[in-house]
Symmetry: C5
Subunit: 358 residues, 5 copies
């Protein structure tokens, strides 16, 4: 049971008393060196470079193409601090980037917009949702993104950037931000679908063969839905900031796209609420199902008593030692006794069957 | 049990990673070719034409009569894209039209108003609600509607248009939009009524003869009410946009009509909430009913034991081998024994009956 | 059980597909001819006339006295349409007047204010609430009211009008509207009181002698409270319109009176909420009460077994056929056996009594 | 059980159909003549007079000192009407003063501010809360207060007025209103404390020795918390009116004091919510506790059967009449039989004890 | 059970009837003399002095460095009153400082901002949260803080002040206020973590070995979460005041920092809500777990009966005294009897095992 631990409390930061702005990584420790990719594109050209160091970025002030710096890995806090210095980021941003227990939020700073939220990928094999914290910093001439791991979270957007035919190549960095958020939100649908399938299987299990473990699964599913809700719900607010088109760097013509993502998050929240209600319903069904099974067992056992106790009484009668019991001396008494036994037993079983007690 | 699956998760879109604006149909695959109907009417004249191709529409800019293009079937995405090109629709509209898992919404674009919501028709035989996504695009000189299937969803409105005596013939395209929404909302009442009848039957079943299946039906009904709520609730907001009479294309004199539809949706939402509460009540009644039945069975079985165990004791007494037991030698002992047995048994049954235990 | 039907779904309109503004009566069919009463009064004079036809009303534009036309019965839709024509009412008003499943609402039209809500009268004998739809149309020179039945709903207001000493005689038609609403809301208190008494009786029943029927009553009471809430809750909004004193025809000096009615509706809503909570509590008490009764029965039955099984064992011992059992030959064995039986039984009963198991 | 009645419905007014402004007392009938006290004070002087009649008040328009008229008893409606005439109060105020089922509210009239709310005093002996309706009317030169009974509700404020050292003597009538509200709200804390102690005792009872009566107490406590909530919740709104410092007669420098009372009411509401949740928790604990007790009894009873049924079987074996049963003829059989019985019984008891079933 | 008391009611103030502004300490009585520390710092210098008396503070109007007066202990109300006089604080502030049952709040006075809230420190050994009321008064030239006890609540901030390298040394007194609030909020995370661990252990206990005490722990945990919620929830509002940057004394550049603390409180509230839901889930699991255990015991006991009752019947049969029972005279009857007994018993046990009843 030890490994079934509620890992929620582990996510909470442990940096009490540090001074504000201290860049302290609270996530899982990782060994590898974080990857740095710089993607540059405009309508005509496209390039993707793996950087050895943050100093490889030149001409930061050049606005002729969209620049996107993707950092895979935030466990190396010194790297995050270097990036902070290079782009003159507020200390609180750096603190938040490496604190993987952030609540989704959008904050406007003097020189940038900072967005953080969770990517939720459904691991079908383990039947659980794997969260990853994503940070996006939208500066005037560059978009910086931070992921926790070196995985292919942004692969689909990268793929689209490679091909000149897609609209993203002719749009600015605000559209890139939209594309990244849209991608993550689209992946939420997979997670939701995974949760849905899980609930269906659980429902089938609970109706057909509930075990004590089913209840544990229901409680776990409840916790996951709660966690998911906490990740998606505040994202609505984040995205709604883009809809008001009063944010710097966001072009008015792209507001429609953010509206679209906003609708998606509402749909996800709706579905999560539905699943939470169904989960609560499942618990009731489980409890009812279990108690019914128990009762049915008790019923069968009690029926055995109900049949044999009267028979034992009958046998007891003819075990009595009265001097004057005429049946005792009749030749066919014993045979008749057995016939009576068989008839009574059959009758009772038939009666119980008809009453659906057996 | 396999076909009783929660089909909710299937509705969720599966187009993660596609570029925004990609027209990807997520509904059920259908074989037939979508129908295109063009209805043109004004106070004097009326015509309905089945179009072979979208290019058959001429004089798009002519405003002398109301034009209504109804598209039955959205599985042919190329047709939707052609319509989009012809009327210069925003890519996100086309994406939403074919994505049948939309949440009801209204969006204003530069050249049109886009509305999408669900038609909910109650299938009395299957005792379930069949959803269909409806999209309405209100352009300056034409109203375009998209249905998922070639059914007669809009039949009643078409019928009214045919007759010059009805008000719709002398009204503009905003009134047509109202008439279509009003029709769909009116059909919600049928669905609600269907759900109500279902709940009544369920209530009767639960009170008179509950089975394990009743609980399944209650859970299914709960899910349907949740789904219905998600379809109707956001429609309120959609319609409230029309009430503020600041939408382009909407004539102020027609706002009253939208008020009326708005009230209907509120009544539907109220009724759904009532049904949800009654559904929750039913579940409690079911659980209580089941456990009471179980207990009554156990009671009857236990009563059999409670009657025969004392009798068996009595028989056991006279089976004892003590040398000095005067009763054994009395001639009428055996007769008296049976009389006692009958009297005791009758007394106990009478007692249990009076206590309402039997 | 068939007559215990949830009649909720019957209330829902059945006019899908009719054109908006079609005057279609959805309530119970009635046979009699609707009554038309015209009441005219001012500070000096008062008259009440039963009209044969709507054309008997003359001088509609005369504002020297308050005119009140009361229509008892809305099942004759042609009459409603005549009234509509005479006073130039919007078709949607007429549609709403005869549609008895309206949600309480207030709507401002160009020439009038339209208010509709429910009268709820508690039928003490049947222990249920009888709803009736009331419509009030406040025109410039006349107030028109529609009731479903020819009953004395407005009797108390009429009585006050008859006597010159009451304030109503010196006030305008807005005060009449207030007086009518106030009367209906005052009657709500009777209904609430009826529900309260019902809950008290139910509570006593559930504590002292719960039956399966109690649960049915609790569920029915829950449904009635929900229905009542749906009737009263939106009335709050309706009345709040009058408080803002920006409605035409409403004199500022009368706003205080509407404040008062508003407070009453809030108190009613509060009480309904309290009753709903108490109702939910009753259900829990019922369930607990029933399961406790069941358990007590089982306990008594099991105690019978617990007493006689050991005794049967003892009898069984002395029914054994061992050759060497000294007790069998002792003269007083049988007497001692019975003494032991009596002592053991008495002891156990005493023990069970002290433990409060019996 | 008859005296355990839910007295809630009794509180509801019974004056349906009376004309608005009719002064009709709905509370308990009382015999004594209401007391009238006039308190006059300013920085220098102080006087308290018991008035024989309302006409004893002279110089009503004199503003040199704060005047406070306290009326103990509102069952004499003629007195209330006299006061109304003397100070020119709106009829609706008088109606509300004597209607003891008012919801807390504040209303501004042309010549006064009218405030009504409940005093809740905890009766420790009866363990219940005794409500009393308080009305405060703040006129330009006088404060009038109405209590239901001749008790010492305002004693602490009177005491402070007597001593020149207290701030109240140098403040105006708005501060007096504050002092009175503050006193009543402070007394709520005692009631809350009483409810808290009651819940603690209930919790102890439910954990240690639950009876069917405990459930009744829990339901009663739930109802009291609901009633209390209805008394305190709207008071928040009432007091918040004073905070906005736009009320006539309220000096800006005293707003801070009303803020303070406001905070107190919020704390009370918070505590009530906590108690309601704990109450709900208690109910669950009670139900669980009761069903566990029941089960334990059944367990003990069943164990008696489980021990003696096998023993009876053994006795039965040696009661068989087979001709060839070697044990029957062995001399020590009977002794061995008893040894076996004792060993088996001891073993089973030991086993059940270890399993914690006994 | 006596020491398990709900200590909630004790926290409520007991000063009914005292005049407003009376400085009355309601917390636990303490013996020691409160400590007074004065910390003065600016970019260059730093000093910390323990004061003997409040008069040791000189040059109160000097604004060249940040001054922080920390008072450890508020049970000496005369000291609090002296401080009030020296800094000219409003009497209501002093009343609130010593009333340890305050709800978190922020109030603006003419010469200062007053903030009060709770420090919640998790006592790991006792597994409970220890609350302490913190008051912060932000005057123009000094920050005064009050703690209930002489503990090291503010140690981490003091430590940072000592070192010139930290940002706090170059910031004003508003930043000090932020740093203090931030520290307390950071400590909430520890408390939350403690509650989380407690819930995990409880979950494990409930799944593996539930006892009646588990339910008590669940109820206690529920109460603690409610208490915690009441401490943290209003703090959100308090901090949001700082975000609107319209407070005097708060520099605009520090608003970002308050945003950060605000986010932390939201995260804490979110987590508390999650824990409350999990707590509710635990209760259900406990109830189900307990009833399942009970049922399993009953099942085992009933199985003993179900096996031996039929066997007893068989023994009874051969104890009958019929004259003609051929088996009685067969030599191997007794042996066969025992073989039948063993076979039947083994068969039943095998059957029950396969059915998972045993």
């Amino acid at each position: 049971m030890a490994n079934k631990k509620n890992s929620h409390s582990q996510k909470i930061n442990r940096k009490t008393g540090m001074h504000p702005g201290s860049v302290y990584y609270v996530g899982e420790k990782r060994e590898y060196i974080p990857n740095l990719y710089l993607v540059e594109y405009n309508k005509e050209s496209y390039s993707q470079t793996k950087l050895a160091s943050i100093d490889d970025i030149k001409n930061v002030e050049d606005g002729s193409s969209v620049r996107w710096l993707n950092v895979e890995g935030i466990h190396e806090t010194s790297l995050v601090e270097q990036i902070g210095q290079k782009f003159n980021l507020h200390p609180l941003i750096l603190e938040d980037v490496v604190n993987t227990s952030q609540r989704p939020k959008l904050e406007e700073y003097d020189n940038c917009i900072y967005i953080t939220f969770k990517s939720l990928v459904y691991d079908g094999k383990e039947q659980k949702i794997v969260p990853e914290q994503i940070s996006i910093i939208l500066l005037k001439h560059i978009v910086i993104t931070f992921q926790e791991q070196a995985d292919d979270t942004f692969a689909e957007v990268l793929e689209r950037i490679k091909h000149a035919k897609f609209k993203i190549r002719s749009k600015g960095s605000d559209y890139l931000v939209y594309a990244l958020i849209d991608l993550i939100v689209d992946k939420y649908f997979n997670s939701i679908e995974g949760m849905g399938t899980q609930l269906e299987e659980l429902e089938e299990e609970v109706f057909s063969s509930p075990t004590a473990n089913s209840l544990y699964k229901i409680q776990t599913s409840k916790r996951e839905l709660l966690d998911m809700r906490h990740s998606v719900y505040p994202l609505r607010e984040v995205i709604s900031h883009f809809q008001k088109d009063d944010l710097e760097y966001i072009d008015e013509s792209n507001v429609k796209y953010f509206n679209d993502v906003y609708d998606h998050t509402i749909r996800i929240v709706d579905t999560i609420e539905t699943y939470r209600e169904l989960n609560a319903g499942l618990k009731d069904i489980y409890l009812s199902s279990m108690s019914m099974r128990m009762s049915q067992v008790m019923q069968v056992l009690t029926i055995i008593g109900a049949i044999f106790i009267p028979l034992t009484f009958l046998a007891g009668v003819y075990g009595m030692n009265f001097e004057f019991m005429p049946e005792l001396h009749w030749e066919y008494s014993y045979l008749v006794f057995w016939i009576v036994i068989v008839v009574v037993t059959t009758g009772m079983i038939f009666f119980f069957k008809r009453k659906k007690w057996l």
